[in-house]
Amino acid sequence: MAMTLNGPFTIRVLTAFIREELAKAGFSKAVLGLSGGLDSAVCAGLAARALGPKSVLALIMPYGTSFSADMDDAREAARAFKIRSLVIDIAPMVDAYFAAFPAGRSGWLRKSDHGRSTGRSSMRLGRDDGGSAGRVRIGNKMARERMSILYDVSAREKALILGTSNKTELLIGYGTIHGDMACAINPLGDLYKTQVRQLAAELGVPAKIRAKQPTAGLWAGQTDEGELGLTYAEIDKILYALVDERESRAEVIAGGFKKKAVDMIVARMKASEFKRQMPPVAKISSRTIGHDFLYPYDWDK
């Protein structure tokens, strides 16, 4: 299987990437959100190797006491890589918002929607969450709350934010734009979930975290594979054929994958392209950002 990677070599490339990209931007420290899951644990391990454990700060940002097992796992990952960690509860910020704008409501905001806050934290995950549309709003809000905290800490600590979205998530758009997808640099973005798992073993991510079912932590009992209806192993094989091998939809199906699964993945890739690009700028002048004003990301770095 061409998705097999050489662990030590891949770690060499990714740690050099973290070190050099940070140095070029004038930074020596990194900050990242640690969820207790596989991807952020791998990213933390890479950062610790690249920069030294003292130069990495992990933010553990639970929503109240829900998912306390994940918080314990996040702490264990931080301990395993000897990096600093800080727990910040996002419940007060998220609750304050949804107390004012309940997730159970939809449609245009009206004046009367505002100011319903009773001043106490009334919203709790999984209860009065407005069904699946509301759950998505809550999940996105939480992801962006964490992003907002990461950027503030990044400025305070003079540390760049490491992204933890893997290639699988990025390709199928399984992430929140301007939320968990936001970062300064992303060492994991070209590794499928299957490959992140290979790296995790190589890096020494605690076995308990490696054995966990991947979850976005949107609600109790939620798993990525349950929500997507396919295992990561299946998704990755299909994506690898479509993206890396440049096979057509028909060729992938002929290769032995279910039509429904391939179509679902192709549809998700197309529908989420907007998450992978800068928003289009309306072109009016003769030289326009995003069209013909073309500089490298590392301009003057």
């Binding site: 990677l5 050099e20 990209e21 073309l294 500089y295 490298p296 990301y297 301009w299």
Partner: protein
């Protein structure tokens, strides 16, 4: 080495330091990677780092140093006679003079590459005399075209020098990028079948997240490896080569003697003119 993107002054300093080290190693000839004076992913920066080899201060400094050591490096060329024409170029300096400037012919423009958007293409592969025999220059993608190797072979090159900024792409269970194998395969084959020394210099470091693979190498006219530098690591890679090996290889297998460039030319004429038919 890792050039600083868009900063000719800093890169010149890097060159001077490396030249110093190479001289201490008693090297006769020092080869830098592609666009070593400017960095690779320039895009719209191209016009601000372009140099005229006849007048640029950087060339004056390097020409002076070339009295003691042969130098090959990469730069963006723009001559007063061709204003607005920017070339991805390689210069060969020795004895205080510019012996040759090669302009990259094959500018990759597909997938992650966009060189044709920013550079004008070169139009020739020409060999030239040096204190170390007849040589030919190629720049990165040129090296992957068998026609480039053939023209330098037909032109009598005893050594080909290639400067490169090749990204590492593709992983496997083995160490290194899968793309590196492609370059080594060409090096080995061309050493053996063009019966010339093949010197390939590739850069390291990252630009916009892309890792340049390093792994510079030398193959002999027998197609044997004379060593390879580590992947991804900056290195001053020094090898002694015996130029008499060209004669030795060509005595054993007279590929050069038996070559028929006039047959190639006539066949090419027919192929090229047949394009419209």
């Amino acid at each position: 080495m890792t050039p600083v993107l868009g900063d000719v002054r800093k890169n010149l300093e890097l060159h001077l330091k490396t030249i110093d080290r190479a001289r201490r190693e008693k090297a006769d000839l020092l080869v830098f990677p592609e666009l070593s004076l400017t960095g690779y992913k320039l895009r719209d920066i191209v016009e601000t780092v372009a140099l005229d080899p006849e007048r640029a201060r950087e060339f004056r400094d390097l020409k002076t140093l070339s009295k003691d050591i042969g130098l090959v490096f990469g730069f963006v060329e723009e001559r007063p006679s061709e204003k607005g024409m920017f070339y991805n170029a390689a210069a060969f300096l020795a004895g205080g003079r510019i012996l040759h400037v090669h302009r990259k012919v094959f500018l990759p423009t597909f997938g992650m590459f966009e060189e044709m958007k920013f550079f004008a293409p070169g139009r020739n592969f020409r060999t030239f005399d040096t204190p170390w025999g007849k040589m030919g220059l190629m720049i990165c993608r040129d090296f992957l075209h068998i026609s480039a190797h053939y023209l330098l072979f037909a032109g009598g090159a005893e050594t080909t020098l290639t400067i490169s900024a090749a990204p590492g792409r593709g992983l496997s269970e083995h160490e290194g990028f899968t793309s590196s194998r492609m370059w080594e395969l060409m090096g080995e084959s061309m050493g053996r079948f063009a019966q010339a020394f093949v010197v390939y210099c590739n850069r390291v470091g990252f630009e916009d997240g892309v890792a340049f693979a390093g792994g510079s190498f030398v193959y002999t006219p027998m197609g044997e490896s004379a060593g390879r530098a580590a992947y991804l690591e900056p290195a001053l890679f020094v090898r002694d080569i015996d130029l008499r090996d060209v004669r030795k290889a060509r005595k054993a297998w007279p590929f050069k003697r038996d070559d028929r460039p006039e047959v190639t030319l006539a066949a090419l004429e027919r192929i090229v003119h047949g394009y419209d038919a």
